[in-house]
Symmetry: C2
Subunit: 203 residues, 2 copies
DNA sequence: GTCTATAGCAGGATAGAC
DNA sequence: GTCTATCCTGCTATAGAC
């Protein structure tokens, strides 16, 4: 049975992710949960406390789960192609409901838009470890010795695309004229990241 | 002489970009401008009206300016490399104060985090025309016939990196251990977008 | 642990003087 | 056009009954 505390965390995350911290009222959360307004203060010491608990108890564990999905999908011998595929799959095909993936992106987005004390937590404990993990895999995949800063920038470019294609999905739809299925996005990501524009260049 | 109306737009944009619509109060804006609270209602019909005016009168024109900067920097004969450089330069080296570039990104970010009636405006009149412009340039640069959907996805990947390196600059600093100057970011963007990871691949 | 009731405050908007 | 004064609404947080 899901207690009031857990329901507050779940509903709180939904609303914070959808509208951002300020835009959500404690009343709205407790009404949906079906409990009293005072419950938030009792369990979390206030609205801000609930928000931080959401990040700690729901967002961070999920971030770690995505990271593990990535690692789990790496198959040796490592190639750049396989690293890219593992990364894309971890984000888009992991056994996590689409709804949760959306929540996850969205909450990060909200925190970036209005940075608070949760941001350092999310960056350092959520994103940075993933970046390092990808860097390690990529270093192993590229046989040549690549300067580590070069490598990290490539990791950044990879993640940039993954996050962007998530965040700007509506714009993509408008730009293309149709809603591209995940499989095709992955295919493009792979092609672009591995060969870049020169894959299409005549010269 | 800058009238009250213009100052409200300028200060309003600063604050909306920094904190988001909800987080800013009319009182705060008018206090900084040095006018009365009622001025917002008089000139714009309310807080929301001021926000929309900011988007229309300041953000959209600036978006168009960036687009023109891009077009202006294209030199024939077009090559993919030159398109990438023109795009990066338009965003990072245009004769616009860094502060304004920051404002511009930030306001888009806020609107994406909490979409309102301004979002369609920003996407359709601000971003989409730029995307189409880049697509056109890229199509001319790539001699071979590239399916237009492929091309658009490449444009998306390009812009993804440009926006991401702007939004996540703090994370990049932490990841690299130093704050990368714009010139070096551009160099990487060019290398990655043109050749992808295979530029570093042994096989 | 969970509720009701309320304190205490801040925000947006408006009416009307000047 | 710009100001003062004020209304009304909605919020968080807390005190205290049960």
């Amino acid at each position: 049975m899901e207690g009031v505390r857990e329901r507050l965390l779940r509903v709180g995350e939904e609303l914070f992710a959808l509208k951002g911290f300020r835009e959500v009222s404690v009343r709205e959360i407790t009404r949906r949960v079906g409990c009293n307004v005072a419950a938030v203060n009792y369990h979390f010491g206030g609205k801000r406390g609930l928000y931080l608990a959401v990040v700690r108890d729901r967002w961070l564990p999920r971030a770690q789960k995505f990271r593990e999905e990535f690692t789990r999908r790496l198959v040796s011998p490592l190639t750049p192609e396989r690293v890219v595929v593992a990364l894309a799959e971890a984000f888009w095909l992991a056994p996590v409901p689409e709804r949760e993936r959306w929540l996850h992106r969205r909450l990060l987005f909200q925190e970036l838009a209005q940075p608070g004390e949760a941001l350092p937590l999310m960056l350092q404990q959520g994103l940075l470890p993933l970046y390092r993990e990808v860097e390690r895999a990529l270093a192993a995949a590229l046989k040549t010795e690549v300067p580590s800063e070069r490598l990290r920038l490539c990791v950044f470019s990879l993640l940039a695309q993954i996050l962007h294609f998530g965040f700007f999905r509506p714009l993509l739809k408008e730009f293309l004229g149709r809603d591209l299925p995940v499989e095709e996005i992955m295919e493009h990501l792979q092609a672009f990241s591995l060969r870049g524009l020169s894959g299409w260049c005549a010269s």
